[in-house]
Symmetry: C2
Subunit: 321 residues, 2 copies
């Protein structure tokens, strides 16, 4: 939940006058996303989201994110379409913030996905990968292998206060990943943050993928690994093989994995678990006093790492032979 | 802004299954209201607000508030309509809270109303008073004359820390109000909290009156006085006579004030200013540490009281002869 920036009527009117989206009938701050300020906007032309980018999104990255969403939406992917203003640009400013208007997508983020949801998610992920293939821009993944040692450096001294032995476990895992990290995998646009809150469903169909603000250029199979981590573990920490099977089968029905990708899947799962463990650990150790947002538990991903270290091949994630 | 209670998908589905409002397409917590938790709800049948009542609304008062909104909406007033569930009741429970679904109203709350807005507001207020006349229930005003001395008792000892002389000024004003408070004025349902955030406009037309959770049975002209206080002062504390004229003319075009009401208007303005000064003062002196919501300034209403003490008759508020 977050509405960080209040927009006055005058500012909103001035901003909307630069668009061709009809007369505003209603707007309300919505409690969604922790990075940005979002307003639900109802006009005579339809429903939209007005997003004001707060400090955590780098303004220099916005042309990539917005261009990508327009590219994907135009390819028919269910993702928000940034609306161009009368100058033909999606990006404007309101209340001192970079701001966009995107189309509103119906659908509900499921907190406890079923195998059916996982299957649909797998298919949508593969569609995203295919639809992004001819997108012209690229953006390196700022939170991949090279970032992990520096990230860990911010937390290493205090890591054992979170869990005994965490520092040593992480050092060893980072050394392993440094050696074993795969190269030359099929690469393109990945979402890189496709957690359950970023996927809308109507019934068991995916109606929307949102929040492209970690999207970047990296191995497709790394995105699959992120989703296995985010969608296929139960709350007690166990891996649900049925959900893994559904997710991978859903993905492969649209874009079959190569032999190299299949072989790399266990190490990619370890790497993506490491990425979320580390960013959560740094956040956990740096909660400002009086913070509203409860940090996410880094140990959830430490436990997932433990699971992945015992996986020998992709079949243990549910990949059909 | 406030989303106090998180509703799980399962709870929401279970709750909505008791209504006949179609399939849910989307729901989002909205940052609106400081008393309750509100979700914007989009279904195959339309748009709604799901409200969960938090502790500050007394559950025993809900049948009055909900019955009143249904009565007013059925009379054609632009106010939210609480939707009955399949048992024919508007009130249910979700996530342990009393909860209702009300129809969504388009419109925008103006932060700086013009005289045109004030005129439309006056008309809408009079329509509310007329539409409420045959509503069968009543509810005494718990924040009128008899409540002010006890309220002041909670703040008296510290009042001068907020502004020098405030305690003495307030004691004298309370003594005056006790003597001068009018009796026998035309009485009925009043909104009692019709500040600018509770009135939606599309253009300069009123499209909705919301937030009936202070509604009660009291003098109609007291509601007019509340609105003069809330709508016709400028941010620098000056009274805008043009706005007062517009508000009173708008009201009288629908429901002319009686001679007795006109005579009482200055003392009613003093009383309603006292009511908001006192509740704000108590809140101001009792801000919990780490509170999110900035309390409203009691001195704004102390200054309005000062203005009203120098008013001799209703013409000084803009009443046309």
């Amino acid at each position: 939940m977050a509405v960080y920036t209040e927009v006055s009527d005058e500012e909103l009117e001035g901003f909307l006058a630069t668009y061709d989206i009809g007369t505003v009938l209603s707007y309300k701050g919505i409690a969604e996303g922790v990075e940005n300020t979002n307003y639900f906007l109802h006009t005579t032309e339809g429903s939209y989201i007005l997003t004001l980018y707060e400090k955590r999104v780098r303004e220099a990255d916005l042309p990539f994110f917005l261009g990508l969403m327009q590219h994907l939406a135009n390819k028919g992917l269910n993702c928000p379409l940034p609306v161009n203003n009368r100058q033909g640009q999606p990006l404007g400013r309101v209340a001192g913030r970079p701001a966009v208007i995107i189309t509103f997508l119906d659908g509900i983020a499921v907190r406890r996905p079923t195998a059916k949801h996982c299957g649909a998610l797998g298919g949508a992920l593969a569609q995203l990968h295919l639809a992004g293939q001819d997108f012209a821009m690229d953006r390196p993944n700022a939170l991949s292998l090279d970032a992990w040692a520096p990230l860990f450096g911010l937390a290493e001294a205090q890591a054992d206060t979170v869990s005994g032995g965490l520092a040593e476990r992480t050092r060893r895992e980072l050394a392993y990943l440094q050696d074993a990290w795969p190269k030359g995998l099929p690469t393109g646009i990945i979402h890189a943050d496709l957690f359950t809150d970023n996927v809308f469903f109507i019934g068991s169909e995916v109606s929307g993928l949102i929040d492209f603000y970690f999207a970047c250029t990296d191995a497709f199979a790394y995105d699959v690994a992120i989703c296995l981590n985010a969608w296929c573990f139960e709350q007690d920490g166990s891996f649900n093989l049925t959900k893994g099977q559904a997710l991978l089968a859903g993905y492969q029905a649209v874009r079959p994995l190569t032999a190299q990708e299949i072989e790399a899947l266990p190490v990619l799962c370890r790497g993506s678990a490491m990425r979320f463990m580390l960013t959560r650990l740094v956040d956990w150790l740096n909660v400002p006093p009086g913070a509203l947002v409860k940090p996410k538990d880094p140990l959830e991903y430490d436990r997932k790492l433990h699971f992945h270290r015992h996986v020998r091949n992709a079949r243990e994630y549910g990949l059909e032979a």
